[in-house]
Symmetry: C2
Subunit: 245 residues, 2 copies
Amino acid sequence: MSHLIRKLEHFVRLSPADRAVLYRVGSERVRNFGPRIDIAREGDKPKYVHLVLAGWACRYKQLEDGRRQIVAFFLPGDICDLNVFILREMDHSIGTITSVMIADLSREFFDEIAAGYPRIATALWWESLVNSAIQREWTMSLGQRTAFERMAHLLCEIFFRLRLAGLTREHGCDFPLTQADLADATGLSKVHVNRTLQELRSAGLIVLKDKFLIVPSLERLMSAALFNPNYLHTEHEGVQLDANE
Amino acid sequence: MSHLIRKLEHFVRLSPADRAVLYRVGSERVRNFGPRIDIAREGDKPKYVHLVLAGWACRYKQLEDGRRQIVAFFLPGDICDLNVFILREMDHSIGTITSVMIADLSREFFDEIAAGYPRIATALWWESLVNSAIQREWTMSLGQRTAFERMAHLLCEIFFRLRLAGLTREHGCDFPLTQADLADATGLSKVHVNRTLQELRSAGLIVLKDKFLIVPSLERLMSAALFNPNYLHTEHEGVQLDANE
DNA sequence: CGATTTATTGAATCGACTCAATTGATGTGG
DNA sequence: CCACATCAATTGAGTCGATTCAATAAATCG
């Protein structure tokens, strides 16, 4: 919960009442999943909006012949699909990377937000616009960036997003993804992911070991990735949207 | 206008009043642009939501060194970015392909919809969820599909979307994209786009000439593309959301 | 501890790219 | 309305980034 609040407050200033409502979300249905488990599958009827309270998950799609593409990562504080209720069936699956704690947000919860908590509603809109922007940036990465840039870009993005949620130290963060995960996300083969990570290491851009990532100089990693953080819409006038109560 | 209505009615049944409001949109500020013109640029402050009344446009991003990726096509009846008002600056540009007629939808218009036209509001949500799904599918294409499949997939998608808007004949549609456009959208080089199109031609999957595309067998093209139309969320129970007035 | 997953390395191959030149279409001004 | 200029499409040849296959080493787990 705190991760979501922390993230949203980069965009709007929430009132104590706003925060209280969001905390209450933690008391909606909460479920725990082990690592490498499907939470929802393509074809399922979407019932809830998922909020990740803890752990890492991903959204992925698969072709008939088994080729798999991770199309998004979900980090603590992330909301899966605002308003999917509307759709009849999922066009993708959601699976865990690590153990994950999920709160299932009901339609009623969103109705309540829409009716009485305009700042939260705005912040959730922002969340969903940023998610779209991230998806576009992935399109950009896959279409135009080299393997080296693409990997650097993904690492930058994850680091930035974790930081928003308050989940980084000065220069490092937990990093539970395997090279196979990175391959499915970047569209590269596992072998090439391995070699690309080695290149990043020997360029002194990252230290990645024991599921922990250290980024000695975010500046340099960003520049290697051609990473422009504007798409995360984080430097924001919206912070002026004060809670006036 | 009619293209938007036609598209939305694949999802909800609109009342005469609903349709009237949507038609009125045509009387909001309408602008005309020539081909190959930027309507909005990365860095701009977003002011309006754009509705494409006629012509083709695209959303694209560029890296500092000039590499360019088209991340979406806008066809008649498409709405650019629901609720971008919220964001401080554009993280991408919008440019025309052909001559284009655009209606600028104001914030007030959406407030009015939200307040008094729930079916339209739902349909617009659907529109925006489908756009997200399309973006994910592009990620999938770029990450996993071969050049041949990817090109076939893009052609399928465009054909399906045009059909929703009522812009196809039995087996064909206008197709104003150049091979350079296709290259920027698929992440392939122009040369390879050319060769890939020739492969599609000699496989008898498409006839593409004089800015007109013929798809002799959509079935066969879909199967070559590993195209699963579920992500367009078009076969929909939502049609049961009748207008009860 | 053995079993399985994850990471690493080498070698050969291939899909897609770049460079470069040509042909064909489109368009505009004199 | 032709001539020239520009833009779009096509073709060939050589190269390179990333892949596949295969084997080994290291880490993780029950």
